[in-house]
Structure formats: structure tokens, C-alpha cells
Amino acid sequence: MNVGNFPFVIAALLVAFGLYALLFKRNLIKMVIGVSLVETGVNLFLVMLGYRSGGAAPIYTFATAGERMVLPTPQALTLTSIVIGLATTALLLSFAVFVHRHYGTLDVRKIKELRG
């Protein structure tokens, strides 16, 4: 099925929503969600780059002669990026837990000992 540029628009929207959440949300957890959204958008973009309609899996014996095979690099990149994303999200959330333990709040307006 040909989906045109639609997934690219979705990827851009995901990045935009994520940046919006990062810039305008005051809750640490919502900021983490924002970071995750940006990451998902970039990952979707990577997957889309590797998508070829009608392409075969890049296994030499599976594809019939002359059939277009998909270069697996973007998929490999996306997998790596998802793993890295998991680590960063986990670290961010654990920081949020410790911040809440020390300050008793997740509101960035009240967590401001490091200013100026």
C-alpha cells in the first residue's frame, strides 16, 4: 500500500508535540513524556526512510531474482536508538523520583535551587 508522505507528517507532528511538552509543561513526568515523543518521532522517521513499498526482506535466498530488497541499515539504527531511548527514559524517570523525594513536588516552578 502506498501511503505517500503521510508518515513523515506524523513524525514531524510527534517531534513538535514532544518539543511543546518540553517547553510548556511544568510537570517533570510530562517533560519525560515530551522527550519520549520526540524520540518516537525521530524513530518513526528513521523507519520510514528504510521503507520501500513492495520490497523484500534482505535475505538473499528469500527474494526472487530481480526483486527489490530493503537495505536493513535504518532498521538497525532504529533498534539501537530505541534501546538508547529506553536507557535515557529510565534514567530521567529515576531522577524524577529522587527529585520528588527531596523536594516533595514535581512542579518545575518549585524546583529552582540552581538558578543564576
Partner: protein, 534 residues
Amino acid sequence: MNALTVHAPVLLVAVPLLGAFGVPLVGKLGRGPRNVFVGLIAAVTAALAGLLAADFFAGSGAPNVYVLGGTMPLPSGMTVPIRIMFEVDGMSAFMTLITALVTLTGAYFSFSYWKERSGGSMFFSLFLLLTAGIFGMELTGDMFNFFVFLEITSIAACGLIGFRVWLRKSQEAGFKVMTLYTLSGLFVLLAVALLYGEHGGLNIAFLAGQIGAAGASLVDKIALGLLLTGLAMKAGAVPLHMWAPDAYGEAPAPMSAVLVANSQASLYGLFRILFTLFGVGVTLSTNGWILIVFAMLTIFVGVTMALVQNDIKRLIAYGAVSQIGYMLLGVGVGLVRQASLVAGGAALADSANALDYGFVALQGGIFHMLNDAACIGLLFLATGAVVRASGTRDLNKMGGLAHRMMWTTIFFIIGAFALAGVPPFNGFASKFLIYEASFQLSPFLSVIAILSSIMLLAVFMKAFQGAFLGSKAGLPPAAGEAPLGMLIPMAVLAVVVVAFGLFPGFFVDTIVTPAAKALWVGRDAYIGAVLGGG
């Protein structure tokens, strides 16, 4: 060339990486064996970096390509390099020297500094992981690997910043820094994806060849913009610096120095992308002016913010931010001048030999990276010793430490004078090159740079007066000279600071000039080493 030298690039990443996972295991045996193990890993890594650099700078200056999983960058019959590779040129070799110096002294300082009962193994594990990531960023020849190493440094660095979970501020800093590091990493990843979509490859040399042959398309320029933003954010250039003072200020003192090396690795990435990946293919002078604007803001904001701090570590941290500006200024002036030389049809190799002011600015910027790593490292270590002795970071509450800590006082003065650009220390040598060259582009630039240096001296005098001078009546009774394990790393850095200040000509000729030439004229050699020809 023996086997060790050949495999040095990959060992530089592999040794600390394996060490990082080995530390928790060895740590089960106790503190002593763990410290020996970490010390050994750090020493071996530094020795490898020294070997790599010595071999490179003694050689012909042609880039070294190290390919994983094959002997050739290009599989037979293909035109797109698909292998993972490290590529070492003058700039990479130079950067590994900086990282080796800072990580080695940081590690040995930490043995005496880290006295907490538990968690030491994890601390050193993160430290070695950060070391591996920084070396990877400096040596890789592949855009995606660059992103992966960038993220390794981000995660390890934030782990170190927020390591002391019992400190309120460190958690706040950790969250903030991790958010911005992740965002900068994603900018880089998006740019890598755009470049891949446009050219179908990830190898820096291959991409540079494509951009050089066809000129930069709109997509390439968007990717360049994203890379500039992402890496400037990771390097802590104003106006994307808000994480930097928190990170340097809240991390354990020896790790602040390593974090500065991490920021410099991002700067290295920025320079590599501007000079090698895009090179003369895009409007260089625009990029150069962007760097100069970043630089002026960074120098000025960094110094003025340092002036108002009362927390000694945060004060030094803002000083570290301002120094990033000098490196950007040198390289920015170099870029602007290179663009006008290329537009005028001049041969770049001749201008380098004739010491054109653009090349001198580039030399100054690069030399300042090494000098800054040595003197800001010294200052952070001295500050760590001061904070341990006085038990506070507030300049208004401490004082009189010079009575008890003679050596730390001397080292602090050396570091402060060097960073503020007072002769005969090393900061003067590189800053003078930058002043001289930027004056020829616009006197305004060098006036701001010199004024900021003078203000920086005032900043350090304030810190010095607050911490070291005054009566010893208010000192805690236990305050004494730092242990030998802390003094020796400081002494090593102080010797480097003084040596580079006394013999700048020798170091500029042997290591800085090859590094600057790698950026100034080395683009074709960098591409040719992978793709052949050239």
C-alpha cells in the same frame, strides 16, 4: 608499526568499556583491588592514547583508517562503504591526548576523593564508561556511531552528575542535564537520518565526498543546522548553556574536569562536521559568523555570570563555560577567513604554511582546548580539595585555607592565572594567538575577548580571596592539606600548565599544527583514506 599501534583506536574504546563492566566484579574484592584495577585501566588507556598520538605525529600525517570486520573500507565491487570504522587524523589524535590527560588525573584524584563507604564501584564504572564514550566520539569515522558514543557519554555523564542521590541539588541538575543531553542527541540523530536519506550512507568520509561532489542540498543544510544546534547544546555554548554550570557544579570534583573533556569532544564533533563533512561545499562564512556569535555570547555571559556566584564550584563552572567561547571564537574566525580565501581562489595549503591569520586563529582555538582541559581540570581538582577541607562551598563561609593548604593554594593560583590568560602560563599562549588573529578580522572581537579575560582574573581573585585568604580562626579544626593522592594529580596538571606556557612554540609545532592542518586542508585526505583516490 606494531600490532598495538595498529589496534590502538579500537583498544582505546574497548579497554575502558570492558573495564567499566569489570569494575563492579573486581569491586567485590574490596577497595584496594578495585582501585588497582581502575588505576591500571586508566593508565593503559592513557598509554594507548599516548602511543596512538606519538605514532601519528611522528608519521606522515595521512589519516589512519581502522576497519572493524574487514581489511578494506570498501567491499569489492561496491562504491558505498558499509563497514564500521575508526578514522584517526591529526585532530582526532590531538583530542585523544586531551582526554587521556584529563581522565588519568581525574581517576587518580578520585581514589583519594571518593571516601563514601558504598557505591565506589558504580562510580568508577560510570567514569570508565564516560571515558570510552569520549574516545569513541573522537575516533569514529561514522555518523551513526558518533551518535551512539554521544549517547553513551550523555548517560554516563548524567549518572555521574546525579550519583550522590542524597544531595538535593545534584538530582535537580541530573534531570535538567539529562533532558538537554537527550534533546541534543535527538537533534544529532535526526540530522544523521536526514543525511542517510539524502545520500544513502553513514560514513563521514563518504558523506563528505558526496556533499563535496554535488554541493550541499537543502536537506544537507537542514541537517547541518540540526547538528550545529545539537552539538553546540552538548558543548555548552550560550544560549544553550543552561545545563553546563549545573553539571560542572554538582558533579563530584574530578568528574567536573572529565565533563569538560566531554564538552570538548562535542566541540570536536562540531569542528569535524563543519570542516570535514561540509567543508568548502557550503557557505562557510555564514557558519563561521554563527560560531563567532555563539562565541561572543559564551565568553561574555560565562564571565559575567561567574562574577556574581558565591558558590566556589559554580563560579569555576561558569569560568569553564566562558572558555568554550574562546575555542569557538578561534575556529569561527578560521572558518570565516577560510571562506574568503577559497572565494579568492587562494590555495589553502600555502596559506597554512604562510601562517595566514585564519590558520593562526584555528591553531589558537585548538591549542586552547588542550590548555583549557589542563587548567580547568587543575582548578576543579583544587576546588574539590578546598571543598573537602572546608566542608562548605559558600565563599562567604570559608576563608584562611592558605594557612593550612599551601600546595593546593599554589596549584589554584597557577590554574586561575593560566585560565585568565596571564603569562607565562599556557592560557596566555593560546589566547594570544586567538586575540592576534581575531583582531585582524575585527578589532571588536578581540577587545571583548581580552576584556572578558581580565574580568575572569577578577572572578578568580574573588574566589581566591574568599577561600584562601583571611584569618585561620574560622577554619574547621580538621581542615588540613589535601592527601598526597590528590596533590600528585594536581601537580601533574600544574606541570603541564607551566610547560605549555614556557614552551608554546614546541607544542604548537609538534601537535597543534598537524591538528589544525587536518581541519584546514585535510578534507581531501580524510575522504581519500576511505574512498581511495584523492
